[in-house]
Symmetry: C2
Subunit: 460 residues, 2 copies
Amino acid sequence: MLSEDKSMSIDYKSLSVDQLIAELSALHFADSIDIINELDINERVTLFERLPLDYTVELFDRQELHERAEILQLMPTKRSVAILDAMSADEATDVFQDMDEATRKHLFVLLKPYTRAEINKLNHYPDGSAGSLMTTEFIAVPSTWTVKQTLDHIREVERTRETVYASYVIDPKTSQLVRAVSLRNLILAKPEDAILEAARKNEPIAISPYTDQEDVARLFRRHDLLSVPVVDDGAHVIGIVTVDDVLDSMSEQMSDDAYKFGGLEAIDRPYMQMSFLEMMRKRGGWLCILFVGEMLTASAMQYFELELEKAIVLTLFIPLIMSSGGNSGSQATSLIIRALALRELKLGDWWRVVLREIPAGISLGVLLGIIGIARIFTWQLTGIYDYGEHWALVAATVGAALVGIVTFGSLSGSMLPFILKRLGFDPASASAPFVATLVDVTGIVIYFSVAALILSGTLL
Amino acid sequence: MLSEDKSMSIDYKSLSVDQLIAELSALHFADSIDIINELDINERVTLFERLPLDYTVELFDRQELHERAEILQLMPTKRSVAILDAMSADEATDVFQDMDEATRKHLFVLLKPYTRAEINKLNHYPDGSAGSLMTTEFIAVPSTWTVKQTLDHIREVERTRETVYASYVIDPKTSQLVRAVSLRNLILAKPEDAILEAARKNEPIAISPYTDQEDVARLFRRHDLLSVPVVDDGAHVIGIVTVDDVLDSMSEQMSDDAYKFGGLEAIDRPYMQMSFLEMMRKRGGWLCILFVGEMLTASAMQYFELELEKAIVLTLFIPLIMSSGGNSGSQATSLIIRALALRELKLGDWWRVVLREIPAGISLGVLLGIIGIARIFTWQLTGIYDYGEHWALVAATVGAALVGIVTFGSLSGSMLPFILKRLGFDPASASAPFVATLVDVTGIVIYFSVAALILSGTLL
């Protein structure tokens, strides 16, 4: 029953183009696209030349179809233009951006004036804005119409799948958005009702083309929307964002976040399809930056070389203490990144976070400090290891340093997303590796300072 | 225009219940809910007793309304039962699960038999399954009907918002799902058409109640769905999952993942609303586990105490070398977690990943090794720091150790998600702190083993 199973049963690569055309029509679009994506580029060009135009357009309207721009470049110009003219404006714009300069110029002048205007309009919204997600095909009707007029209009102009989520009622004089009406409302109303009677009673929810995609997603969740109109400063509808675009943008967001958390650059391509060089670039860059930052730990330790020589026993706990700072820091960072993203916290709340993180850090530090001290006592008293004459003072140093480092880690880990956001960066860039690097150097300074304080006169 | 602005302009807390009732009806549900959530629990009870029943039910159908179970427990039994009977079955089930045992038993027997049956049905699907997301209200019509009959039926039985995404055509003999038909198809068809003619031509996409919510989300994205029928083993429709539930589950998933990446337990409550104790529990648990794991680094270093004493200069680079292993490990883990989640990789692909990660790790290790060696040469030759007589051999040790550790980090970081998945855990639990802890101990062993090899006879 799951469509996943269907495309697997036949070996589509062995079929002729004619057989393939016959087979595809019985499948879901997503399955057809999977099969087509597997073909050679030339086979795909031949296939799309011979498939019915409207079916071809439906396939080209899906981002899942690979190398749309390349295929169109290889097809006869007339056919490519016909496909681009019939596609959703937002998808046509995306495809256009992927073409090489020469083809783009060549094809652009051959498009219908309407398509050209739409592409020009959509081209200038920044990536990740509602404007870049929206489509310009939607149904708008004057507020003087009836339900029947609206339904007839939908039956007449309904071209693409995306237009049917809702219709927008426009003031015939000012052209401003007045109300939104869902298909459901239209069906439930009497045909002779005025459209304003069938529409939702409250002012429609609308967004600006510059609304961030995360805010768009939040609005969809908040109001259980299927689509939302995008309006300009004069309250004129210039497009709609639909729930399928929001789902896609959320899932991209999830991928990007996962990479940020891991401390590497976002990668569009599947893992196995990345070239080795590309993977090196994406991973190597961050790894080198972190490495150079972490070099400061060597400098910090060089600074404490005298202490190191006198009390080698202290070096045993360096990794343990440093990693505790890093771990508490990345916990705090994750908490705050999430709270900022969900708008539970605002930039101005930073001091409230400070007031929570200081006691939290101290408590967690005390917790780890007790475990650390217990470990040293146990090893010493059972004879597993001898930490030397002043072992009790070493234990006290480790315990006290843990309190300081975990507190510092929690505090700096929680403030980092605020600072990044304040500077205009994405708070999610504060990955665990980044926080750990930041806290490591301080960790060494805190550890040896605490040691100097407690062990001065004995070990040091 | 954005609804966000609306609820802010009036101080709703100063209004009487009557005034509030008048104000609420002009607002979007989400805004009304925000205002209601701010009221005392007693005010909320009074309000919900006096608001019209259908409006109350619409509010109770939203998860965003806080303390639904508590409010129902405080309201007169008759009213609570009326609300529960009219709510969506999935939401009623959720509310019911939040009630205390006594109230639940008391109210349950008073519900309509239909509601009781639905709640019993929904109760037994595991968290995160399609069954736990689905609602049991949907429109099913026999395949012998016409479009007009279907539309009339929708107008008649249409009760909740969720029923209008699509209608399902059922074989009148076997009661099995035959086709799905969207509202759009119904409107575009002629009223006298047979419903099977208006329906989509291919077999409907359907899922099992045990399908994982991540797979459900993937299916929605793949086919741009607004709803999907949930069918039992006999192909009978038992419910539908709608796109708004998928959006909610995706956004929960994003939060949970963020916490996992940071190495702490998932937290449902906003950061500022968490009690201090709760926060300690969620953070302290993981922090202690990581701390105890990291203690092995101290044991590893104790093992190499002789080497440490002879070559203190080696300790200077311990933090640098360990963190490089951790960072390369968490990069590899992030890549593989994502690739597994997006089904770019299957469990059986682990060896293909090994074949990529070994050369990747070696290359990245050589890169960092060169930077590390350059650093030691620069400091030594410019006189910033004196690494001793055998400084060139120390540099070689650091460089060689980095190659070994980064390779090991990349390899173990990439294999960890596979192992977790194989054992039935969520691969996303392999957070950066977890990977770093794993790699740190090995890092020390590799570092000192390489040192023993290179420096034996000179420093060691």
